[in-house]
């Protein structure tokens, strides 16, 4: 399999060097803190969406069936979702819940709300080993 480096990436990299922006040097403590803060901000938004913040046409919210985001098993995705008849990613199951128990409109898989929901779901499951494909 041949992998092409996208031209735009190369352009962006050379522009960065020209502008004097740090490239792939060792990251700093400030970087670590920023990464953590950005992620935790997303977790926090996700936690609110999960507990009634998501626009739900029938008022039902995710936490009603999944306290602390349990019984979601994010570590098992992608997996064969028998009811969908295919291997699915977690976002597809989140949308299934939004459309059925919540009787509401699905999110784009890359929507900010969808990302935040997954940040929260994964955070509550931290420390659990990956188990891809497990039912």
């Amino acid at each position: 399999m041949k992998i092409k480096t996208p031209t735009c990436l190369l352009l962006a990299a050379s522009t960065a060097v020209l502008a004097g922006v740090a490239s792939a040097d060792p990251f700093t403590q400030a970087d670590l803190e920023r990464w953590k803060a950005e992620y935790m901000a997303s977790v926090e938004k996700g936690e609110k969406l999960f507990h009634g913040g998501l626009k739900s046409k029938n008022t039902v919210s995710c936490d009603q069936c999944h306290p602390n985001a349990t019984n979601i098993h994010p570590e098992t995705y992608p997996k064969f979702q028998q009811q969908l008849g295919k291997v699915a990613v977690l976002g597809e199951m989140i949308n299934w819940c939004i459309m059925n128990p919540l009787e509401s409109d699905p999110l784009a898989l890359d929507a900010a709300d969808m990302v935040d929901l997954q940040s929260y779901i994964h955070w509550e499951r931290r420390g659990v080993p990956l188990a891809p494909g497990k039912h």
Binding site: H51, G52, K57, N58, T59, V60, D63, Q64, C65, H66, P67, N68, T70, N71, H73, Q83, W96, C97, N100, P101, E103, E124, R125, R126, G127, V128
Partner: protein, 357 residues
């Protein structure tokens, strides 16, 4: 108007169930020993969480769960002596929700005894519920068994009074995994009442206590918990046979602590995960419990259900009626001295869906 629609739906559902033969009617008859007048059964429904959306709209899924449980209960033959409703008729304690729930429940054949749930209580501290249903703690005798109903979902006054208004308080309590929640309790006044109530009861009389929260400590984070559980248990200790039946947990649980058997009810609305599936905190599910099957969310009634209970041993045998799944029976095992699943108790007999993670 909506009442007549509900009636029609009961009848339609009922005849469909009869045609499918999906009720274990033979089990009901076995539960009645013909020569023992003390034998009787009662049905036990709980946790319907009727949810008002706006105007005359309610969440369809939760309505359907209660309607189905009632339709099935009405098919029991012989008839149960009465029905217990284990609490949480409503989701946010609104009069609209309690009224809509009671309208559906009015389709039940026979007398119903009600237990207060936290979702019925924390909007107006139980005023509307009590106006419609009467006292939230009481006792009665039936065919040699002493029944006691407690309101076990009270909590500390500081917590009750700290919120901006009734709906904020209700919403805070309605969130199961709320880090700002507060533990349930029976409280001093009711414990005093219970003590006096039990003084006149012979120690050989079987006692059945109904509460919404477990009168044992399983997981505080979700209020699978009653803060003064030990004090209530101490009052029940002198009796030979005591059974505690509780709702709130939306799952099969059972346990034995000394002379007291514990059995939980399934919700008619939706199932809850076992607390052990939350990996960031420790919990204490009774070791005895063989867990319910993991829910298939694509069947909206899976892992919901209702119960009927027979008292032919003076202890309770709980028959779990589980639509879209296999029924379960947790009966008091006289030899072992605790409740046991009649099919799945031996570890070797358990099936993969009973493994939660």
């Amino acid at each position: 108007m909506s009442k007549s629609i509900n009636r029609r739906e009961f009848l339609k559902r009922g005849s469909a169930l009869l045609a499918a033969g999906s009720l274990p009617l033979s089990l009901v008859e076995v539960a009645f020993g013909k020569n023992d007048p003390e034998n009787f059964t009662f049905a036990y429904l709980s946790d319907s969480h009727i949810t008002h959306i706006k105007g005359k709209e309610f969440v369809r899924n939760w309505d359907r769960g209660l309607i189905r449980a009632i339709a099935e209960t009405n098919l029991l033959d012989p008839r149960p002596d009465f029905v217990f409703y284990g609490g949480d008729i409503a989701q946010l304690g609104k009069p609209e929700e309690i009224d809509h729930g009671l309208e559906i429940l009015s389709g039940l054949r026979g007398d119903v005894h009600y237990v207060m749930g936290e979702h019925d209580y924390y909007l107006d501290l139980g005023d509307y519920w009590r106006k419609q249903l009467g006292p939230d703690h009481y006792s009665f005798d039936h065919k040699g068994v002493h029944f006691v109903v407690l309101n076990s979902i009270l909590t500390y006054d500081d917590w009750v009074n700290k919120w901006g208004g009734p709906m904020e308080r209700m919403q805070q309590m309605a969130r199961l995994d709320n880090p700002q929640g507060s533990p349930f309790m029976v409280g001093e006044a009711q414990r005093q009442w219970l003590k006096q109530d039990l003084e006149k009861v012979d120690k050989n009389t079987p006692v059945v206590v109904l509460s919404h929260s477990p009168l044992q400590k399983i997981y505080k984070g979700w209020n699978f918990w009653t803060d003064d559980a030990e004090q209530v248990q101490a009052l029940l200790k002198p009796f030979r046979k005591v059974s505690v039946l509780y709702g709130h947990v939306h799952q099969i649980q059972y346990n034995q602590i000394g002379n007291i058997s514990f059995n939980s009810a399934m919700a008619t609305a939706w199932p809850w995960p076992y607390p052990s599936s939350y990996k960031q905190a420790a919990s204490y599910l009774p070791k005895l419990t063989v867990e319910m099957n993991r829910a298939d969310p694509f069947f909206e009634r899976d892992a919901t259900g209702w119960q009927f209970i027979n008292m032919h041993t003076g202890n309770v045998d709980v028959h779990y009626l589980l639509p879209d799944n296999q029924n379960r029976v947790v009966a008091f095992d006289r030899k072992a001295g605790h409740p046991a699943d009649t099919k799945f108790q031996p570890v070797a007999d358990r099936i993969p869906p009973q493994t939660h993670y």
